[in-house]
């Protein structure tokens, strides 16, 4: 049996996940990370994007985190997400719509908009869509 490590994902609003996992795959600010039990202590930022957990026995679960921090201790992995969502809660239609709206706003140069805010919005919706697509691929 593969060894496991305690992983918890918490957001400011609620606890999303807590349990034993074989591997955590998240997108850190410096690139994709795959963390297995016994990893050396690590502290890093998390970009908005999917967080994949390989559970005991190989089952996979996908969550969405929009930024936050990731702490790794040899015996525990903690993801402090700014907002995190269960994959089931993701709403693809809403994400597509929000992404299109952000894109439109960006193109509409005349409008008096906060460029940085919209760009960040767009990035987040794109990350959300990536997560949803990943879940789709898994199912088919």
């Amino acid at each position: 049996m593969a060894s496991t490590v305690l992983c918890s994902i918490v957001s400011a609003e609620e606890e999303i996940f807590s349990g034993q996992v074989e591997m955590v795959i998240a997108s850190g600010t410096q690139g994709e990370l795959g963390i297995m039990p016994g990893h050396t202590p690590l502290l890093t930022g998390v970009k908005s994007g999917p967080v994949r957990l390989i559970l005991e026995g190989g089952a996979e679960e996908i969550y969405f985190a929009s930024g936050g921090y990731l702490e790794v201790q040899p015996t525990s992995i903690t993801i402090l997400a700014d907002t995190a969502l269960r994959a089931d809660d993701l709403d693809e239609a809403a994400a597509v719509q929000a992404k299109q709206k952000a894109e439109k706003e960006l193109q509409d140069a005349k409008a008096d908009i906060d460029f940085a805010r919209v760009a960040a919005d767009l990035q987040e919706q794109a990350a959300l869509l990536r997560t949803i697509q990943k879940i789709r691929n898994k199912k088919h």
Binding site: S8, V10, S11, A12, E13, E14, E15, S18, G28, T29, Q30, T40, P41, L42, L43, T44, G45, Y69, E71, Q73, T78, L80
Partner: protein
């Protein structure tokens, strides 16, 4: 008879009071459920981030944020979270007593103190008690927002950065259950390291990208999360304490009414007996 009339009036007014207190009890009960939920949802985050910060405090990093450095203590700061409104039993009194006790200890050791007060009751108390209040925020609503709290906390943190205070404590009520709320004073800055033997050796994190940036971001979130959670927890405590206080008041009003009713019935019966005996006495005399 005048006595019976007076009693009837008294019973009427107590009944009205009882109606009010039982309505307040029900309002507090329904609010409590809501804030309790909010509190329970926020707890894992604030607990986890405290763990992480505890680990960071144990590490021996290349970069030490000034919030993490233990200094010689000459002056301390208290962030005291109280409720805005009264009618919640001994909740605020217990907390303020604990704070005053702590302050007395500190003053005894020659340490001075500054106060940052969140909530009306604390402000009222320290107005008469004295003490150097550097920041106060009086309207902490039932749905507190981090943005409302930031201002007052910032004053304290700035004082720490400038070296005017060397330690910051956070005082609030912890919600144990509906019946029990315990006043606690915890050290907020510099954060306490977690006592753990497995961490006693020299070690450090790998930081990606940069230790300074990461620790700064984490600390800001840590302090915000702790204070926010303290305020939310205090709101839950307030509603629970209010519910209990109002329930007691309603029960007491009920007891009082029973007692008065008995006295009134006695008086009425005595009046009837007296009247009867007067009639009988009168008839016998004829």
């Amino acid at each position: 008879m005048a006595n019976a009339k007076e009693l009837r009036k008294q019973i009427g007014s107590i009944k009205n009071t009882q109606k009010i207190t039982s309505a307040m009890e029900m309002v507090a009960a329904s609010k409590m459920r809501k804030v309790q939920e909010q509190m329970a949802r926020g707890r894992p985050y604030s607990d986890r981030i405290r763990d992480v910060i505890g680990h960071v405090a144990n590490a021996s990093p290349e970069y030490r944020h000034q919030f993490m450095v233990q200094r010689e203590v000459k002056r301390v700061g208290y962030i005291v979270v109280t409720t805005d409104k009264g009618l919640c039993g001994g909740l605020n009194v217990n907390l303020l007593k604990a704070v005053v006790n702590d302050i007395k200890h500190k003053v005894g050791d020659g340490i001075e103190y500054d106060l940052c007060l969140l909530g009306n009751k604390g402000t009222q108390f320290f107005r008469s008690y004295g003490g150097n209040v550097v920041a106060a925020s009086n309207h902490v609503s039932e749905r507190p927002q981090i943005s409302d709290l930031i201002g007052s906390i910032k004053v304290m943190l700035d004082a720490f950065e400038e070296g005017r205070v060397d330690k910051i404590y956070l005082a609030n009520n912890i919600f144990v259950n509906t019946m029990t709320q315990t006043p606690t004073i915890r050290q907020l800055v510099p954060p306490d390291a977690i006592e753990d033997d497995s961490m006693s050796h020299r070690w450090d994190y790998i930081y990606e990208p940069d230790a300074r940036e990461l620790i700064e971001g984490l600390l800001t979130r840590f302090i915000e999360a702790q204070v926010y959670q303290a305020v939310v927890e205090n709101v839950a405590c307030e509603q629970a304490a209010k519910m209990i206080a109002m329930k007691n008041a309603t029960d007491n009003a009920g007891d009082l009414i029973d007692e008065l009713q008995l006295i009134m019935n006695n008086a009425r019966q005595a009046a009837i007996t007296q009247e009867l005996s007067e009639i009988v006495g009168g008839a016998a005399a004829v």
